[in-house]
């Protein structure tokens, strides 16, 4: 049951990171000069999404 819950949690995180990566890739293709700032933004956004996923992980094994 815990594993199923964690799997559901991963679906959301995977979608979130995928959307973020897609947006960054699109914007980089349009405007290559903002690459540095976009990368920081992407890492930040991924960290927020990943944190949700990790909270799910910790809750599922506790």
């Amino acid at each position: 049951m815990n594993v199923i819950g964690y799997g559901l949690c991963v679906i959301g995180a995977a979608l979130g990171i995928a959307i973020a990566a897609q947006g960054v890739a699109n914007s980089m293709a349009r405007q290559p000069e903002v690459e540095g700032r976009l990368f920081t933004l992407f890492i930040l956004a991924s960290a927020f999404i990943e944190a949700l996923c990790l909270i799910g992980f910790v809750v599922s094994i506790m």
Partner: protein
């Protein structure tokens, strides 16, 4: 091979147990725990690094050598990227606090990356205290800027009709207190989950190689060969965790900076 997987899942409980903090004296609520010890150690290492840097920079303004340049690069990274980037004109006022938070969290994270050591930030107690500090700091900054009453009122954006403003105010108050929890839980979960994943791969490596050491048969050699794969994955996860330790310190500082900026901002 099935046996090996069974053994891994049997030792999971023990692994997770080993990441919970154990008191050296006193108890886990009030007392000196193993995590507190490593956190203290991290702070001491941090102070040693900073004093060594100061000693090296005495009488000169130009950093020489890898060490002095590395420390300066780190500090300038916080200054330019976090403070100047998010805070704007008032960055000078908040830089000492933000740099301290960054260094404490970063050293706390990196202490746990050394084999057999534990992360100083690996318990909700330590991360909660750090989050509380930053929470009190940004509320203090907001209250100093706008006055106690002004800050409380400024949680809701100005220019809304009275009934809507009341609803928004309650939501904003709730989300302000939620910041405290999310700051603490994010850091703790990242450290805890990272160490659990590394621990699982370390256990897998040893469990898969064990039958080969006991009895040298062809089948056991196949199982043993798989532990090379687990070892490679362990090293990969370790590298990722080195990155995560830095990114989490960066995010903790950046979010503190954003909250300070929001508390200071005039209107919305």
């Amino acid at each position: 091979m099935g046996d090996a997987f069974q053994q891994v899942s049997d030792s999971m409980g023990e692994l997770i147990e080993s990441f919970f903090t154990t008191p050296i004296f006193g108890d886990a609520t009030v007392g000196f725990t193993i995590t507190t010890f490593y956190f203290l150690l991290a702070c001491l290492i941090m102070l040693a690094v900073i004093f060594a840097y100061k000693r090296k920079m005495e009488g000169t303004l130009v950093p020489h050598g890898v060490f002095a340049n590395g420390v300066e690069y780190l500090i300038e990274y916080i200054r330019d990227d976090v403070c100047k980037g998010t805070l704007g004109d008032t960055w000078k006022q908040h830089f000492p606090f933000l740099a301290t938070v960054f260094l404490v969290v970063m050293f706390g994270n990196y202490v746990g990356m050394l084999p057999t050591w534990k992360a100083g930030t690996g318990t909700t107690g330590v991360t909660g205290a750090l989050a509380l500090m930053s929470f009190i700091y940004f509320i203090y900054v907001g209250m100093r800027k706008k006055g106690v009453f002004g800050y409380i009122k400024s949680l809701a954006p100005a220019g809304l009709a009275a009934p809507i403003a009341a609803v928004v105010w309650v939501i904003e108050l709730f989300s302000t207190f939620l910041r405290l929890i999310t700051l603490a839980v994010r850091l703790f979960c990242n450290m805890f989950a990272g160490h659990v994943v590394m621990g699982v791969f370390a256990i897998m490596t040893t469990t898969f190689v064990q039958p080969m050491l006991m009895q040298f048969t062809l089948e056991n050699m196949g199982t043993g060969a798989m532990s090379i794969l687990w070892m490679a994955l362990l090293i990969l996860i370790y590298v990722v965790e080195l990155l995560v330790a830095f990114i989490q310190a960066y995010i903790f500082t950046l979010l503190s900076a954003v909250y300070v900026q929001l508390a200071e901002a005039e209107g919305h």
